[in-house]
């Protein structure tokens, strides 16, 4: 009984030491809490794929009433800003090259007269396709404007058989980018704080030689690790909660499902990240190596292959297979499901079981690899 109490006291003392370490380093602490806030603000406000005010150039060979009216329709749409009026085909390429415009519209000579006389006239829509998605969106917008205009011109003879599509955007009616980013950001921040910080803080003790001191103490290796890890679990959880609150109150990203479930899944993910961090620290001998390993081995796969930024179904098969062994991938599905779709454990149990499996596996491997002696 007394020994138990003693062990407990020692352990608490150790955790306090770790907290001191963290809190004494004001700069890291500031960044640790400032980072999620700044990142979510960035993602929410600045990182958007919504296209507005794309710069275009117009080459109007016709310069008649009809082409002018079409141009005013295009500019009135709100999607485009007229960057320059061109006078010849030769000016188009330099304008694209200098990055001044994204789209050029060319009206053929006699556009209006042809349209009225022959009922047919042609325009060219040229897009800078170095960014393919923007290009295809802009072309689609332009085509729609021309079709509307055409419909207007034909209005006298009321068009038969019009199918009107009514589109609804499920889960994210305003198509905000932040809806996609909040779940991913939680995964990244948790990975960063839990895995990267832990691996570096343990390697640091090795590099500085203080690990010897800890290992020679009456504490068991298991307790040392647990003590190292506890503060980071708390920090990660606080960060996750901050992100959720900001998502909700600043950007209106809802939490449709159960908050308790969401937080417990987060703890599960934190545990798997911690186990990975410990694993890295058993391999790495210096902080630099630990940093590079967690950056290349954990952070980048989490950002790239978790499906938070880039859709997994677009990837080639080998990468899709690899994405399965990345815990964040399953975590992002869970968070999206709970937050945005309001799903419960009944639909997410598979992902949860996989995450539990990862956690247990990484824990086992890292405790086996953790050596009491330094060589």
């Amino acid at each position: 009984m007394i020994t138990n109490l003693l062990i407990m006291k020692r352990f608490i003392g150790f955790v306090r030491k770790e907290f001191f370490h963290i809190f004494r380093d004001r700069r890291t602490l500031l960044i640790l809490f400032g980072m999620p806030v700044v990142q979510i603000l960035l993602f929410g406000y600045a990182v958007t794929n919504e296209i507005k005010e794309a710069k275009i150039a117009i080459l109007d060979h016709a310069k008649d009433e009809v082409s002018r009216e079409a141009i005013s329709k295009i500019l009135a749409s709100g999607y485009f800003i007229l960057e320059s009026d061109l006078h010849s085909e030769k000016e188009i390429e330099p304008a694209f090259q200098a990055g001044r415009i994204k789209l050029a519209i060319v009206f053929e000579p006699g556009f209006g007269t042809r349209l009225i006389r022959d009922g047919k006239a042609a325009v060219q829509i040229l897009a800078d396709a170095t960014d393919p998605n923007t290009a295809s969106t802009l072309v689609t917008y332009t085509q729609a404007i021309f079709l509307d205009y055409q419909r207007e011109l034909n209005a006298i003879s009321s068009i038969p058989l019009t199918i009107v599509p009514d589109s609804r955007m499920r889960y994210n009616p305003e198509q905000k980018g932040v809806f996609l980013f909040v779940p991913g950001l939680i995964a990244i921040i948790l990975m960063l704080v839990s895995a990267m910080m832990t691996s570096i803080s343990i390697t640091r003790e090795k590099e500085m030689g203080t690990m010897e001191v800890l290992l020679a103490s009456p504490m068991r290796p298991f307790q040392i690790i647990l003590g190292k890890v506890t503060p980071y679990v708390m920090l990660s959880l606080i960060n996750a909660i901050v992100i959720l609150l900001m998502g909700k109150f600043v950007f209106g990203v809802p939490v449709q499902g159960s908050v308790v479930l969401l937080l417990s899944e987060s703890v599960l993910f934190i545990l798997s990240a911690l186990a990975l961090g410990i694993l890295i620290s058993t391999v790495a001998q210096s902080q630099q190596v630990a940093l590079m390993l967690s950056l290349m081995g954990l952070m980048l796969p989490t950002i790239l292959l978790s499906g938070f930024m880039f859709p997994i179904e677009n990837m080639p098969i080998p990468l899709q297979v690899i994405s399965n062994i990345i815990p964040a991938r399953w975590f992002v599905v869970i968070v999206k499901g709970i937050m945005l779709k309001g799903l419960g454990l009944d639909l997410l149990w598979q992902e949860t079981v996989i995450l539990v499996g990862f956690t247990v596996f990484f824990m086992l491997v890292s405790t086996r690899k953790f050596k009491v002696r330094l060589e």
Binding site: K52, Q97, V123, P132, Q288, L319
Partner: protein, 375 residues
């Protein structure tokens, strides 16, 4: 000059002696480039379509056939009710639902107009938006066909005074709309930026933490000599990596290099002096490697997301656009895309060059000034 030579010798030895950091520096980037280019894919194709056909008429069948024939959609199933189809979206088995109302054909024939419901999963706002835009396109095409076939029959009496604008769209610089063409220059930028900033920011601080900085401080080495000796190896490594990246990009993805390759290298070298200067600056005011790494990470994330690498700068709100003017990564991405994909020359990127020159002088002066030989 000889002094710098000695420091260079020491630095290179230290780097090449470190068996763990070497593979990370040289192999990891190649792997990243291979994986990233395939993973970082925002291409929207093969959208999973579910149809609720309440009409079962020849019209509705033909409309569905039209969707099946389009390159954007893949019919993954039919549903009998909206609830059933919604379930498929919840489980991510469908991206978009099209509901054809009862009496679709009859309404069209009799009243000339009918509505179709489209429900897109908009958690990923861009994908949802494009799904709706593409469906609009397919429906418009279908409409036009219908008018051509049935129009004249339906409108008895006067022949229709139809005008039509023919639209010819061209996608410049990337006619196949390959997303990799867009991403690869960005990935190259990401690579040199990350490697450069992390290695340099952890460099001097490492000597501080280990105590070896004292030994250098007591030598007659001048501040600028020390800084140059520290920075040059990283510049060489970064350029070397850029070269590997270019080769991989050419062989694997056949990215067209329209512009001059020496120009790209010179520009990258200029850019690296900025990034390394930033890293050095961080290194001079931090005390531990962990701190340095965190600060570097914090700024890199902001720089990368505000650089236009993933999302276009002109889509950002005005305040964010203002911020991007202070972001060196922005200028690098702009220029490298212009040179590589559009064949821009020295003259076209003069603005970016001058800005980076200014930046390089400013940040390196700050860093040298802030590095003190006394502790």
């Amino acid at each position: 000059m000889r002094t710098i030579g000695f420091i260079l010798y020491k630095e290179f030895r230290q780097i090449f002696r470190n068996k763990a950091i070497l593979p990370i520096i040289f192999v990891a980037p190649v792997i990243q480039l291979v994986i990233l280019a395939y993973a970082a894919n925002f291409e929207v194709k093969n959208l999973k379509l579910v149809v609720i056909d309440n009409d079962h008429s020849s019209f509705s069948q033909r409309l569905i056939g039209k969707f099946e024939g389009s390159a954007y959609f893949r019919l993954v199933g039919t549903a009998d009710s909206e609830a059933e189809a919604s379930g498929m979206i919840e489980e991510d088995r469908a991206d978009i639902i099209m509901e054809i109302p009862k009496g679709f054909e009859e309404n069209l024939m009799r009243e000339n107009v009918d509505h179709i419901q489209l429900i897109a999963n908009a958690i990923d706002g861009v994908k949802g938006g494009l799904a709706a835009a593409y469906s609009g396109q397919v429906i418009r095409d279908f409409n036009r066909e219908m008018i051509e076939t049935y129009g004249p029959v339906l409108i008895s009496g006067a022949p229709m005074a139809q005008v039509s604008i023919s639209m010819d769209e061209q996608y410049w610089f990337n006619p196949k709309m390959d997303y990799k063409t867009f991403m690869v220059p960005g990935i190259l930028a990401l690579l040199v930026t990350m490697i450069g900033s992390f290695l340099s920011s952890m460099n001097i601080v490492r000597e501080k933490e280990m105590g070896t900085i004292e030994q250098i401080n007591v030598t007659p080495i001048k501040k600028y000599q020390f800084v140059i000796g520290k920075q040059l190896p990283f510049l060489v490594i970064a350029l070397f990596e850029f070269g590997i990246g270019l080769i991989v990009a050419k062989i694997l993805y056949n990215i067209p290099f329209l512009g001059s390759i020496p120009l790209m290298f010179v520009f990258t070298a200029l850019y690296m002096t900025v990034i390394l200067g930033l890293g050095l600056f961080i290194s001079t005011f931090t005390e531990t490697q962990q701190q340095a790494m965190f600060i570097a990470w914090f700024f890199m994330v902001i720089f990368i997301f505000l650089s236009g690498m993933f999302t276009a700068i002109e889509n950002m709100p005005a305040w964010a656009q203002t911020l991007t003017y202070f972001n060196p990564v922005r200028y690098f991405i702009e220029a490298i895309r212009m040179v590589m994909l559009k064949g821009a020359g020295l003259h076209d990127i003069a603005r970016q060059i001058w800005i980076l020159v200014g930046y390089a002088i400013l940040i390196n002066t700050l860093a040298v000034w802030n590095y003190r030989k006394t502790v």
